[in-house]
Amino acid sequence: MIKAIGEYFLLLQRVFQSPGNRKLFWKQVLDEIYHLGMDSIPLVSLVSVFVGAAITIQLQINMDSPWIPLYSVGFAARKAIVLELAPTIIGLVLAGKIGSHIASQLGTMRVTEQIDAIEVMGMNSASYLILPKIIACMLFNPILIMLSIITALAGGWAAGVGIMHMSSFQFIYGLQSFPHNFDLVYAIAKTLVFAFFISSISSFYGYTVKGGALEVGKASTKAVVNSSIAIILSNLVMTQLLM
């Protein structure tokens, strides 16, 4: 475990060196934004809509009391979605999707000697292959989280109004109550940290694969598991520090 952590930091040291041809580097970043970010939009939207709806239904059932105003459901749904659902739950979903994609891609490149081919050409393969993924995730994951917040709130509204027969006005009034801008800053800060962990940890497991196809599969699993653990632990630390 300690050896793996040491190797992870040594790899990061190589990643944050000059990537060589800058024009091609930014093209690579755009490609990664497309593959890692844009491709995740349908999944993020789908998960967010349904989880947002489920949260609203749960809140309405559990807050059904004459002492609690109905608009509190909208308020509580917003808090839950912005503070935890969007950054953390979607972070875990992205760890699964993006993490396995990165680890299997780099792992396959390693076992088919494509990474060796890049090294032999005199390039820093770690920087060329991993840095664009880290930058792409850190640039695009906040956009995905914003999308997740919007779609989850829309899902919550649809469930509140359509299933639980709440008035649209009450739900939206709740969403707008007691605005707290720091919640969004907190969500974005967490997202950036999670994006770094997902991309760098998954890259580490993919890049350092030794063996064949079986090891690529194992690396992919390790990437998802360890990225998820990193997200959960850092979520706890950041919640303590920032809230």
């Binding site: 091609l24 396959t108 000697e113 090294e119």
Partner: protein, 257 residues
């Protein structure tokens, strides 16, 4: 010329290479032969810097190729190296032309048009004219090897390394690949190093042949005098191929007669 001096390498607690001393000449196909697991690939990967040598050094025309030495010199030497990997190591995400253009995109200051033209020239050289837009998944084994050769020669390397270039290919395609590497080597005066255990290649293009056995340099010669060797290990190695076994038998009979 590539010179290897007292090179040793240990992997997983086992000494894979032991005190290898070797000179590889320019304009010639320098073959490194040996059974699977004899250390050929480790030797080649150590030569190109993918593995770090535990002892000894590799000199490229007198320039040392050590990771802890001058970083600029190391990069400079690496840019003079072309390598054909066993499986081709083509980039799956790029079509054929982009694969060949990859080193040009990275290191050359040529215009896009000039890069395309150079890549097409290399593809034509390996008989793959018109394959520009094919994806790597559409290529046969022989075509993959040829694209890999085209990519390796795109930057006009001074040193060409080929790791088992005809493994997994049929005899006819193997012959074509061998002839292609041999022609390119002579045309450009490249120092070519080829790892192989294919005796056909040894006999046809082996300008110099270096036999590695259990991590040691066991025998040196060429494709012409290898059949005369009385070294027990190399005879055993050659006799593993039915074709060479017969050749060896006929050669001995001829000598005895």
């Amino acid at each position: 010329m590539i010179e290897i001096r007292h090179l040793s390498k240990e992997l997983g607690g086992r000494e894979v290479l032991h005190d290898i001393n070797l000179k590889l000449e320019p304009g010639l196909c320098n073959l490194v032969i040996g059974q699977s697991g004899s250390g050929k690939t480790v030797l080649m990967k150590t030569m190109v810097g993918l593995y770090e040598a535990d002892a000894g050094e590799v000199l490229f025309d007198g320039r040392s190729f050590k990771r802890d030495k001058n970083h600029e010199q190391l990069t400079e030497i690496r840019r003079e190296i072309g390598m054909v990997f066993q499986g081709g190591a083509l980039f799956d995400s790029l079509p054929v032309l982009e694969n060949v253009m990859f080193p040009l995109d990275m290191f050359s200051t040529l215009s896009r048009r000039a890069k395309v033209s150079r890549a097409q020239e290399c593809l034509a050289r390996v008989d793959l004219k018109g394959a520009d837009k094919l994806s790597t998944s559409e290529l046969s084994g022989g075509m993959r090897k040829r694209v890999a050769i085209a990519r390796a020669i795109a930057m006009q390397p001074r040193y060409l390394f080929c790791d088992e270039p005809n493994s997994g290919l049929d005899p006819r395609t193997s012959e074509l690949i061998d002839a292609l590497i041999s022609e390119i080597t002579r045309e450009a005066g490249i120092t070519t190093v080829i790892n192989t255990h294919d005796m056909n290649s040894v006999l046809k293009i082996g300008d110099t042949v270096n036999f590695i056995y259990e991590g040691k340099l066991w025998w040196q010669g060429n494709g012409k005098n290898i059949l005369d060797s009385d070294n027990a290990e190399i005879i055993h190695f050659m006799e593993a191929s039915e074709l060479t076994k017969r050749l060896l038998h006929n050669h001995r009979n001829k000598h005895e007669a």
